[in-house]
Amino acid sequence: MSSKEKKAGMISHVVRAGAIAMVVLLFIPGLNPARITKMIGDEASLLTSGFFYGTLTSGMGRAFTKGWINESSMILLFISCLICCLGVITAAVGACLTLGNLKCHRFANLLAMIGSGVAALSMTGVYIAYTQVAATSKPKKVEPVFPAGIYAVVIIALIVFAVALISNLVLPKASKEMKMKMESPYKLFLMLLPFLLLAFVFSYLPLWGWRYAFFDYKAGDTLSMSNFVGFKWFTYLFQNTATAKDIVMVLRNTLIMSGLGIATSWLPVAFAIFLNEIKNVKFRRVVQTLTTIPNFISWVLVYAVAFSIFSTDGFISSIMVNSGAWSQGVNMLMGNSNTWLKMLAWGLWKGLGWSAIIYIAAISGIDKGLYEAAKVDGAGRFQRMWHITVPSLIPTYCVLLLMSVANILSNGMDQYLVFKNATNASTITVLDLYVYNLGIVGGSIPLSTVVSMVKSIVSVILLFVANTISKVIRGESIV
């Protein structure tokens, strides 16, 4: 590699950094150049504006019909944003390809120049749309604002353009017969990159949403330092008597339901052991097949099943009424008694057969010689079960038990949401359902973010503790 290529390689770091900055910019609503009026939601990023015309113009129907905004300017804005997004993507692809050999590098710089140039030029369209909107007849309703995002896009795009141009001037010309190539470490990385980005966007980016816990936010507001409230919501949670009461109730429900789950976690082991005692293979097959079906239906369907059996005109009521035992049907799904046990029962109905499979497989892996030896020594059926089968299942059981301890706060929401009704809310609301009710239904985003956040942190700590315990005791980690 010549010294010129090394120099160009150094310069290309700037191109890559600039391209990353442009891609990040696509996702930041605060720097959205398309937000030329306050009628455009502050949740919309440049990417949204460029790909979803409906989101961009949602809530503008009145402005269009009354003639405050000409729809053509919004279409111009949308197309400019789309072109800008495509330009940024082209520039990003170019930046990725700068990792290749000389020919590839030169081509990559060209791509980066085209992409960033297009992105910068597309901002003129946004600017024209802005001037059109600014000339509205109803400035008070439309509230045109000059988007600072335009500067951000133009400046970064021009830097990328200039640096890519310099890089190409520095690089020597590639010979005609040279082929575009890239070394395999980079090639493999670039193939993985799109998937890494997806994982980042859907798994790491939500952590950025934790900032809502520190702001006084209502749906539709903007986050700015003026409504920064520090730890207000954290203290509010405990100082406000109503929410503090709710939290205590919800934690009680959560811990009791998880506790019942843990207390009955030996049932699948027993199920497997006793099923193994049945020598009729066909019978065992049928039992295994039919008892695992409920695991594969959703909680909504479990509720549908519960409805068909236990509701006012369901199976049990029909039989009782038609036999004259009851004067009228009873809806056994209503009512606040024994909610925890009922939920446990549904959990077992759904999961018992399935959870047993792992133990059934473990039993079939036990050395048959052990049983034979025990038989010769005069051990009876129950002694064999207790002294051979049970001990060989303990390691598997311990791992699963530790996992369920780590998940003590996360018992999911679906089951409790579908079985919830007007009468049992106080005993069925678990943490996840509470967060849903508070944030999605009730719209208190900051408060529910606080609860979500504390729950996530505690869960990670619990998992860590469980893992450490497992390492100390068994010398093996569980995650």
Binding site: F27, L188, A199, L207, G209, W210, T289, I293, T449, S456
Partner: protein
């Protein structure tokens, strides 16, 4: 399926029983135990299966008898008009399409991505392989919480948007680990000889890895499909103002919670026998029928796929 070893074992045991007959005289407490054991499993199995049977016979029996609660153990007056009448239930077909399409598209993309990423992360020469792989795996063990997730999706424009069903599911870390572990168990020589022959990564993936990984890919495909079909939360939380994007599960949830008279659900311009619709509307039959339509794909697929389901849980024992 019985392995040869199991067959041999059974034969040996029979032989052993014949020669040691006196040792296997059943004691009374063994008999009592066996009776209770069989009884428990029979009852539990019935409890697991009967509700589906009950739903089914109620949807194909005479609607007036169903209404009186007289169909409990066997169907009477079998007809399939209820299923035909579902065509005129508003929005149901739309939800069915949403559920089917997301199951097919979402699962296909997830399997492709898992296979490809699983293959890529087995390549030691990749730049920063360990870091990237760890970053992927860690995402299984934490999540930011429901509300930050919701705010993130709405920031990305994925609320009230069909893509919200597809895109977030493409990268599935657990499945990636499964595929990676599986590929590592394949003899290295196959890949190496292809590399020597000058095959590119894509060619190796297409011609060697993909065909060899089919068993594991079938397993993750089935789990993915069931998960997609059953998913309810994303529809509930993300599609609040787009009823035309509700999944079938969400639709069923809404219908189950509605008052008993569902006549408002029917579109007036239907060519189905109106008496059937009337007898269906006035109560539980329509709810049962919709439930049955929602559960049927799982029940139909289940017997054929059982061995994949069972191998799936055993794979849970492996680690990344």
């Amino acid at each position: 399926m019985k392995t040869a070893q199991e067959k041999l074992d059974e034969r040996a045991e029979r032989q052993y029983r014949r020669t040691h007959k006196e040792k296997f005289v059943l004691k009374p407490r063994d008999i009592v135990f066996s009776i209770f054991n069989y009884l428990f499993f029979i009852l539990f199995t019935i409890a697991c299966f009967f509700p589906f049977y009950y739903l089914f016979i109620n949807t194909i029996s005479d609607n007036s008898l169903v209404q009186k609660g007289l169909i409990n153990f066997y169907p009477v007056g079998i007809h399939f008009d209820n299923y035909a009448a579902l065509r005129s239930v508003n929005d149901l077909f739309q939800s069915f399409l949403v559920s089917i399409s997301r199951t097919v598209i979402g699962t296909a993309l997830m399997v492709l991505a898992s296979a490809f990423v699983g293959y890529l992360v087995t390549k030691p020469e990749m730049w920063g392989r360990k870091i990237w792989y760890r970053l992927l795996v860690i995402t299984m063990y934490f999540n930011a919480g429901m509300i930050p997730w919701y705010m993130n999706m709405s920031m990305l424009g994925l609320t009230n948007n069909y893509m919200a069903y597809i895109i977030p599911g493409i990268v599935a870390p657990y499945n990636i680990i499964l595929v990676k572990t599986y590929i590592e168990s394949i003899p290295q020589e196959l890949e190496e000889s292809a590399e020597i022959d000058g095959a590119s990564y894509m060619t190796i993936f297409r011609k060697i890895i993909w065909p060899l990984c089919k068993p594991i890919l079938a397993t993750i495909a089935i789990f993915g499909a069931v998960g997609n079909w059953n998913s309810f939360q994303d529809s509930l939380i993300l599609m609040q103002s787009s009823p035309n994007l509700f999944t079938l599960q969400h639709r069923l949830y809404i219908y189950l919670n509605q008052a008993s008279n569902l006549s408002s659900l029917m579109s007036s311009s239907s060519n189905v026998n109106t008496s059937v619709i009337q007898s269906m509307l006035n109560g539980k039959v329509i709810k049962y029928t919709i439930s049955m339509v929602t559960v049927l794909p799982i029940l139909i697929v289940y017997p054929f796929m059982q061995r994949y389901f069972e191998s799936g849980i055993m794979l849970g024992a492996v680690k990344g």
